[in-house]
Assembly symmetry: D2
Homo-oligomer: 318 residues x 4
Amino acid sequence: MEVIVRVGGAGVCGTDNNIQRGLANPSPKLPYTLGHENAGWIEEVGAVAASAGMKKGDPVILHPLISCGLCKACRAGNDMHCVDSRFPGLNTDGGYAQFLKTSVRSVIRLAAGTDPVPLAPYADAGITSYHAVKRVAPQLYPGTTAVVIGIGGLGHFAIQLLKALTPASVIGIARSNAKVEFAKQLGADAAFPAGKDGGLKEVLDFTNGLGADAVLDFVADQGTPDTGVKMIKKGGTYCVIGEGGTVSDPTIDMIVRELNIIGSLVGTYNELSELMELNRMGKIKITSKVYPMSDVVQVMKDLKDGRVLGRSVLDPWK
Amino acid sequence: MEVIVRVGGAGVCGTDNNIQRGLANPSPKLPYTLGHENAGWIEEVGAVAASAGMKKGDPVILHPLISCGLCKACRAGNDMHCVDSRFPGLNTDGGYAQFLKTSVRSVIRLAAGTDPVPLAPYADAGITSYHAVKRVAPQLYPGTTAVVIGIGGLGHFAIQLLKALTPASVIGIARSNAKVEFAKQLGADAAFPAGKDGGLKEVLDFTNGLGADAVLDFVADQGTPDTGVKMIKKGGTYCVIGEGGTVSDPTIDMIVRELNIIGSLVGTYNELSELMELNRMGKIKITSKVYPMSDVVQVMKDLKDGRVLGRSVLDPWK
Amino acid sequence: MEVIVRVGGAGVCGTDNNIQRGLANPSPKLPYTLGHENAGWIEEVGAVAASAGMKKGDPVILHPLISCGLCKACRAGNDMHCVDSRFPGLNTDGGYAQFLKTSVRSVIRLAAGTDPVPLAPYADAGITSYHAVKRVAPQLYPGTTAVVIGIGGLGHFAIQLLKALTPASVIGIARSNAKVEFAKQLGADAAFPAGKDGGLKEVLDFTNGLGADAVLDFVADQGTPDTGVKMIKKGGTYCVIGEGGTVSDPTIDMIVRELNIIGSLVGTYNELSELMELNRMGKIKITSKVYPMSDVVQVMKDLKDGRVLGRSVLDPWK
Amino acid sequence: MEVIVRVGGAGVCGTDNNIQRGLANPSPKLPYTLGHENAGWIEEVGAVAASAGMKKGDPVILHPLISCGLCKACRAGNDMHCVDSRFPGLNTDGGYAQFLKTSVRSVIRLAAGTDPVPLAPYADAGITSYHAVKRVAPQLYPGTTAVVIGIGGLGHFAIQLLKALTPASVIGIARSNAKVEFAKQLGADAAFPAGKDGGLKEVLDFTNGLGADAVLDFVADQGTPDTGVKMIKKGGTYCVIGEGGTVSDPTIDMIVRELNIIGSLVGTYNELSELMELNRMGKIKITSKVYPMSDVVQVMKDLKDGRVLGRSVLDPWK
């Protein structure tokens, strides 16, 4: 089942900063290689991959997990709940490297001739955003409103995905003016600075005081869970994708407004495959910039300081 | 659209105690009549009800809301989200009375000859429990486990409904030994006293440490939201139906376990209609005891003190 | 509940031709007024409509059925399955008239200042197409293909709706070259003439021999059910909206390909409301041309002869 | 991924008779071994199976397909739509043999100590019935009716599954009086002989002329598709599981009654796993009789002549 991939690009994620700062739980044993958003080219294939038609030079993107394929979750397609998985870059060596050994189960081939390098962030930022959008999409019929909190690597996909897959009006909320503008460029019907109340007043104004049908919170820290829950309409959904804070709501409010508060985690192999199809069709465009691996310290710092629009990618061959 | 109902029985709910103690928000203006779980017989009908075939003497049970029928929620069948509704016994005069004026939209006729009096609690305790069970049922396939926290008026329906509508194993959790036994009599596969940790250890033991697929919390106070959330399996659902406490969970836990935390509120007209069909078929049995209205003070006290198995009903004609 | 509407426009549908030719079953009693796609302005309101805020001069579009609001189907929002409905223009006098008496339950108010006249076809052609698209949409993820057979009044909405609400590639099939071109203008990714095999070869070529995930057949006559069913992929759906022919398939094919063959009928009140929101947002545009009522004979003949692009509307005041 | 299973029992299916009579399309090349419903014990395991904890002597039941695990269908859990599968007993050597080589992906371990021999029919008759019941179950709320046409090996599971998983009333229809009685013993609320009209009159009488919400047709031959479609209620579903005949319905009827006509094919690995859980819990009981392999000719003849209640199983070691 094994496949060796020549890494073309590895996306740089906020989680990488957290791991570096020792915030991962459990913390990986050192020495250890970061990088959980990987794309490149097939370098060498085992028998199963060969019989599946994979061959050296094929451009590929990698599902972030190496799932077992045999557990109940895998047999239902829910790779992210696999009970016997590894997550390169989180709990085993990842893609900040020239080669990565993975499983045929993680490999998605891209159309011949595709340059995989700038696409690497689809492998984690993209799929995680797509999975969350698919979960709320069934309730986003014409006339509804969706809010995206945080216009970083994940949020920049979410704005586009909501517009491509649903008829909802989409509001972006970001801390910096640059990202408020970025949200509009990505297709948001409106975008507001987080301000003091996390954009709550603006969302309520936009929805005639009713609140939004779905709120996707890619920050989930520094107060956004409080304001995010307040933004939801009766029967609506607050979806947590970011991490750091705590969601808290009185049960009386949960029942009177019949709220749905859900957590969302990466996504399935087929979801990443569908997402790459959206990229191929031009319905979703990635904003990413490629740096040589030697810039890794500066790139990770830029991310921490909120200076990245879209996503940065490291090229281990430069 | 109007119908006058001769009240045969009015169920006594914990909410009645809360209203009496001034905990309702907003508090109803006095003088005012309690009673939001009502059944009886049609006394007099307006033109619309008459043309729908309703006539004096028909045994009936009443949906707890008087919904408008014209708003978007009503047009989707979601009576409980009606934007122009009244709730007799909560925000307008209710059924602790000999007659109640309601709308044809609230009336469900029972089979000829049915004694509606002991059935009154289906109108609120029953429908609320049924609505919550229907929401979690799609994820309860063979091999899964559901937990019912609180075996009061609502929980005593939930145990039976989970067994009748799903193949899940059902665990009941209650504070008193009498109610633990009651849960078993109602069909629970296992029942445990809440003890110090709310039954958490027992649920984890029963599920080989994985947790339950769905937890229905009819208490949602005094620590149950904390232990209830801990009882859930990856991808599972914690459903709040009780009130009083606060649900709180770190966002990192929400996403890593991909939890669903949802609030559930009464139910639809059709749901009450379906529930009465389950009662008629004998798939669900109510445990209720009828008292004369003059016993109201003692009956409400018994409820507050946890001495009621199932539900008490007041008969305003005795 | 009554409302009198000043008819601004009444759409001309193939069903009108069928009724005129005596093909309706049961045939309406004469004299009788056609017109089941109606829009205009409120002329006069009863008490319920007034209290719902409706007033003379409001631009409105009418749901095609007058549903009872009390049966199980209405209480679930499924107006089209109402057991006690009337259908103006089909089984009671319709909108080829200056005024039409209807129920508050059929009235959808449009944004102030909207000209309702050219929008009338949304009331039947639009809603029927929208209902069918919503039924197949959940299986149209990125990489899938949907086929629209028949680019008439309904099909011209379906092409746009599939593009607006799903990421599927959309193929249009029509008999005339003019309509093949029209399909492309409406946004179809490809469009083919029906030719001898109803476009079967082209659909199989487009989908690498696998077939389409969903086929919406707005003709359902003259062989399209045969070729339409052959176009579907394993696990796909063939949705019948037109009428005239017969669907027929060997059971061995039904199971080996695990086919879904479904009939689709108008839609719900909320669906028409959502559709008008899509129109307001500019996501769907109607192609319609307004004629004075005196042109009715010519307009109906043009439709029968396949010379109409989009839909014709009659203005009873001209 | 390979596993060798010592076959304990192989169920005898009507499809075996069809293959023997040369009706399979394509026909398997001879010599060739029948048997697609297999259970037994693990005899020998490859490395993957060993690391998954499988070992000699474990009682097992086999999913009927050997699916690839890598195609889009497999990655969504839809084993029956695998594009690179083999089906032992249909298109490769099956279980009318003492040993069968299969894949770890087909093996479901049973509880230690389980006798797998009489359970073999769950592997195809059971899973096919379970898959069909799961597809219609969401529309079977209290007050609805489901019909099972054909009380053979599959139908005898369907009656029990509908009662265990839904609150619907269940009607069985069979040709022989013995099977009508059998349906009642299995829990059907009513059972009727097929008679001249396939039980149509009885179903309409039972449902007050409205028709059934779901009809599962395990015969799908000799007129049952005609009468089966006529039995359905507006908005209901006719599900084809048998084979031989042709489904045919005018499109006008498809749309006016908004019918769903669906084909259903075996089921997924997880579905077989869930079904064995229902068996373990005692919610479903198999009626099967075990014969020595030397009786194969008589057993297949008995099946063809309609003399089998439940299912016959061949033991290749006797």
